[in-house]
């Protein structure tokens, strides 16, 4: 049992980094779909840039950019059905947006306001993004158990980073998904870095996809910069899951073009040449090129779209900045369904303290 497992999957890539078609597009992908998809990628990139700017100007707190990984989130989001459940990690702005989470809520969360997690509509049962690495994957397994035990034909999509594949929860959840044949798809955003730790220092396995073998489930690698490839892999895996045919692990290979978060400085630990090379593979440009070459796109369309996207992002920023603050005791009123006796007593202390602070600041 010494054989290593490196097998390139058939549908690894559809549109390559030069915008060239590598193989026929899947039937599910139409020209309209591709144009809508392109707008989504641009929108997310625009939001992302804005969010970083808000943080830099003190209008938002720490923010994890998804620059370069827009295709992973967008492709995944587009492969989900409304009644599927999404269990994200923190770099899933794109998927969450596709699921109907508002842009202003995404900003609100990184601005430090829990109300950003009050998702509505399709996302109403989705989980908020998870910060402790890989924890979301066991939650997703639990969600899958719930769906399965209801006899529904829904599936769960969960995501994680390459670093997350080192954590126990990653394996424990996939192992359960394997032995219980859960309707679960786990998508790794392999952006090559876990803060300062490169993929090569995270594990000795040649691929992350082969970790599926430990759980007895299928593992697939895709070009994470090709939104079609990501979409198709997730789409197929979700279909399989919904049909009761078990779980899949998908490794989407991409690159974190930004710092880890706004609190990070990636120049400390990685080579600028590596980043430069990665820019040549990024997902937005290649789709634009492809659309142009297919005569599905031109600069007028581009200008109109950019304006529209900017407007949408600006509106979200305005909403974010103008959202009135929470009530001072709101951090106490949702801890339990009803406030407990100790919390009622402590609210009285809070109000006393707030009064003291007022007076002291007043004089």
């Amino acid at each position: 049992m010494r054989q290593e497992f490196v097998q390139t999957d058939d549908n690894y890539c559809f549109i390559d980094s030069k915008g060239k078609l590598v193989q026929e597009l899947p039937g599910e992908v139409s020209s309209d779909w591709l144009q809508a998809c392109y707008r989504l990628l641009v929108l997310i990139r625009t939001l992302d840039k804005k969010a970083v700017a808000l943080q830099r100007t003190g209008q938002m707190h720490t923010y994890p950019s998804c620059l370069g990984q827009e295709a992973v989130g967008t492709g995944a989001g587009l492969a989900m059905q409304d009644d599927d459940i999404f269990v994200p990690y923190y770099r899933d702005q794109a998927t969450q947006y596709v699921r109907g989470v508002r842009l202003d809520q995404i900003l609100q969360l990184w601005g430090g306001d829990e109300r950003g997690n009050i998702f509505e509509g399709v996302a109403a049962k989705d989980l908020p993004f998870c910060i402790p690495i890989a924890n979301q994957m066991t939650h997703a397994a639990g969600v899958a158990v719930a769906l399965k035990s209801k006899g529904s034909h829904q599936a769960v999509l969960t995501t994680c980073g390459d670093g997350a594949t080192s954590r126990g929860d990653f394996y424990e959840s996939l192992n359960l998904a394997g032995v219980w044949q859960l309707p679960l798809v786990a998508l790794i955003n392999n952006n090559q870095w876990a803060i300062s730790v490169p993929r090569s220092a995270q594990t000795g396995s040649k691929t992350l996809a082969q970790k599926a073998i430990a759980a007895g489930i299928d593992g697939v690698q895709v070009d994470g910069n090709d939104v079609v490839a990501v979409f198709y892999a997730v789409h197929q895996a979700m279909k399989k899951a919904r049909a009761g045919k078990g779980a899949t692990l998908i490794e989407a290979i991409t690159y974190r073009l930004s710092d880890h978060t706004t609190a990070d400085d990636a120049t400390r630990y990685r080579d600028s040449q590596e980043v430069k090379t990665a820019w040549e593979l990024e997902p937005v440009k290649r789709l634009q090129t492809y659309l142009h070459e297919q005569k599905l796109w031109d600069s007028d369309k581009e200008q109109a779209m950019l304006k529209d996207v900017q407007k949408e992002v600006d509106a979200a920023v305005a909403t974010y900045l103008n959202t009135p603050p929470q009530k001072p005791d709101e951090f106490m009123t949702h801890v339990y369904a009803e406030m407990t006796q100790p919390l009622l007593e402590q609210r009285a202390i809070l109000f006393e303290h707030l009064a003291l602070r007022e007076t002291d600041n007043g004089h």
Binding site: I85, V87, E114, R115, N117, I118, F119, A124, K125, L127, P128, C130, P132, N135, M137, T138, H139, A140, A141, G142, V143, A144, V145, A146, L147, S149, G168, D169, E172, S173, N175, L176, V179, E330, F331, H334, V335, Y336, A337, T340, Q341, P342, L343
Partner: protein, 369 residues
Amino acid sequence: MATKNAAEKMPKEVTEQVSERVSGKASGKAPEKSSRKTSEKTTHTVTLVEAVNLALRRALTDHPEVVILGEDVGTNGGVFRATEGLKRDFGFKRVLDTPLAESLIAGMAVGMATQGMRPVAEIQFMGFIFAAVEHMVCHAARMRNRTRGRLHCPLVIRAPFGGGIHAPEHHSESTEALFAHIPGLRVVIPSSPTRAYGLLLSAIQDPDPVLFLEPKRIYRMVRQEVEDDGQGLPLDVCFTLRQGEHITLVSWGAMIHETMLAAKQLAAEDGIEAEVIDVASISPLDMDTIIRSVEKTGRCVIIQEAARSGGIGSEISARLGEDALMYLQAPVQRVTGYDTPMPYSKNEGLYMPCVEDIIGTVKKVMEDV
């Protein structure tokens, strides 16, 4: 499914005194309504572990969203038989034998709970709960607050705890205080079959996560008549098991047994009438009942099996010092385990508080003026 007045559910083997406070509060604290009508009442004479089984059975019957999960809870019925017969009677879809992974068990319970299920997960021994802590602290206890009420985690984690059964290392811990310090969790500990039944039902019906710790040393110590009527007991009150005016004894879990014996002996041999309070829900803590008692008695001894420093006893003692200082005729004292790991089984008796320790301490406190 209403919460029964606490007084009605008091165990038979102890003095049936319930403070007004308890009865008063209980009526106002009905857990969430059941999604089904409760079935017929029957009365069973059961041990504590059988009462747990009865409550689980009742919950599985009355609430289709209840699911039992854990290691060996299925065919084997749990290593203490708490889930005995449940898989047979409710099927493998309601009673899930999981792989051996506590982080997974807690994490999947969180996921299940967010989707409207009511998972009741067993951790085989409290000494193996640590891998579940991340999910309990970071997710179960916070999902409601994090989402401002959009999602919540109505889950129960059950675990047998405490020493005294000569089990191997890690099978005898009492680390309840760790969880009582976590906002968003409830921590509930029964000390009799009736309270096991009523509190577990309320824990399952509660809309928030509950750690339900079962004192395994007294799993089979006494039998009580338990009415299987689907009625819960309130989760946020202490139970006054014995009234007395000279001193207040506060305890929870298996130590209630030693505490009640000490109280009886003190009354018989020394004419000292101790009020005995079973804290039962160690978080959130019902200090009102305890303070009211100490206002009356002026003296208090707290009995705790857990390590001495930083235990529940410390919180109670601190609160008494802050809120009842002028009533205290003597310093509050604690009879506790020690700041050591639980000794291996041969020597666990050295570690565990016993009746003599309690009586000796009470007498010292009574002498204090």
